[in-house]
Symmetry: C2
Amino acid sequence: MKRDSRLSSVLHALLHMAEHEGPMTSDALGRCLGANPVVVRRTMGLLREAGLVSAERGHSGGWRISADLRIVSLRHLHEALGEPAIFAIGNRNEVPECLVEQAVNAALDKAFLEAEALLMERFADVTLADLAADFTRRHAERRATKD
Amino acid sequence: MKRDSRLSSVLHALLHMAEHEGPMTSDALGRCLGANPVVVRRTMGLLREAGLVSAERGHSGGWRISADLRIVSLRHLHEALGEPAIFAIGNRNEVPECLVEQAVNAALDKAFLEAEALLMERFADVTLADLAADFTRRHAERRATKD
DNA sequence: TTTCATGTAACTACATATGTTACGATTCGG
DNA sequence: CCGAATCGTAACATATGTAGTTACATGAAA
Ligand code: FES
Ligand code: FES
């Protein structure tokens, strides 16, 4: 099954934008991510609808972050992307007649809901500012290693 | 993304087998689950390789449970199925050069690993015997409601 | 007015799960 | 022993969802 990598993509894009002066074009972001510029527009468009970024058309246009990096969490981004399905595993039949299958579904659903709740908690805990700081730390580490 | 429903399927099948005298054929299980008998064989074959069920060919053959219901947990079944990918969301690039992407991946991986660990813990806690008991409870409840 | 950029629709390419067909191998009942 | 029942497995078909691509309209700046 092909995994949805949009959360990873927009995070990468947003952090590059945060480090960058002025707007970045879909083309530049696409080259950065190794993705198609139309796909970038498609995905960033969802963030725009959520008010997290803004786009300007025409000469020297592109994408800009329009939210506070300290506020925007992974959870906000996940929601902006439409809360895509998290799990690649699911029940065969969501509304079974059979009591056996109902018992199975109840057990699986319980476990998956708990895992999802934990994941959302962790997502809410991590902001773009946190990731930017982590990047800065890694950058300093690399320079220290090289010297 | 199309979700993998094999865990749900084998649980349903195993519980029906547990309630059933003698072996059950792939055909019978397929009718029960609403699945193709070849798919049943394909999936149950993985459980056979893990020693959880046995198959007999020929007249009055079929599938039998060959393990203790109190021992076999959801986790055992997940492992028997080859530990398929749990998440439908992933990193765009698993081995990135870019430090920004490394920081992003690290944060996402941490959250997903924690969620996966919790899920595996819950899976390990639920045995086939537990599910069979839950089925019995639901069965009694339905009869009580009908009376 | 030309060029650069987003916005969007429509189609293609690809991956993966499941379904289907076909046939061989094995076991049992008569 | 023969034939029906059943698993084992390969090969192919179908369905679904993500990402890529092409095409063109819209808008803004030089
Ligand atoms: S891809 Fe992150 S550096 Fe351009
Ligand atoms: S499908 Fe569970 S009762 Fe047959």
